[in-house]
Symmetry: C2
Subunit: 146 residues, 2 copies
């Protein structure tokens, strides 16, 4: 469980993501970092199954990478409620959890004090896998109530 | 490592905090939740050594509990830079780490999708202990440059 300083951890985070072979499940509150978006896009092009959940109020902010990722064909779902979908975690191949305080924004990576945990203990990963599947279904457009 | 839904986890979080016997080290970006402030205050009154680090830009926002905790005699330090002190973690008795996406705000607890990890594996706790001590010294008023 490393706790890298955010300013030095981007390349390590990218490397962890790029280790995905089968799936990448993402719950990312705010996603504006181009380097992280490039890694996600690359995985999608390699045939890794990428699913991305984000926050409806933040997905349209200046610099957001969500539109670009959707345009590339990546499945994106977002919340429908007034509170925030405030998670910032990734699950690689359903086995490795990457989570912490870090939003996937350039501002956070360059300027903030942040933490990122990398966990592969199954008992820790399981609740996040369950939360991801719960959110993925809950935010399915088929369930929209308007 | 439970991942409780935020709306049901407040009492569990309070119970974990109240288990502190010797020390409570807090790095909390935004702190406005009265119930959590009451728990911290209670520990201070019990003689537990409480140290609190927070973000300078958020400590003065409406509803912030920082002033109240300082008034009660709890040591509080804050960052001096333009980026955010964005951690949201607590270390109980230097052994149990509580960390995640959850800001200690009523809005986050009531309205958001959040996660909180509770970890007592020493290899995971150590980097957070080190980060706390590093920040605590860095934000020492004796080191102010103005």
């Amino acid at each position: 469980c490393p706790l890298p300083r955010a300013e030095t951890s981007l390349s390590r985070l990218v490397r962890r993501l790029l280790s995905a072979r089968r799936s990448l499940d993402l719950c990312i509150f705010s996603f504006s970092c181009p380097q992280l978006a490039r890694a996600v896009h690359l995985l999608h092009r390699r045939g890794v199954r990428v699913r991305l959940v984000t926050d409806a109020q933040y997905m349209g902010l200046h610099g957001s990478q969500i539109g670009r990722l959707r345009h590339a064909g990546i499945q994106v779902r977002h919340d429908q409620h007034s509170g925030y979908m405030h998670h910032k975690f990734a699950i690689v191949d359903r086995r490795m959890l990457i989570t912490g305080s870090l939003n996937w924004t350039t501002q956070a990576i360059q300027s903030n004090r942040e933490n990122v945990l990398v966990v592969d203990d199954a008992a820790c990963v399981k609740p996040f896998l369950d939360e991801f599947e719960r959110i993925w279904e809950e935010y399915n457009p088929a369930n929209y109530s308007f």
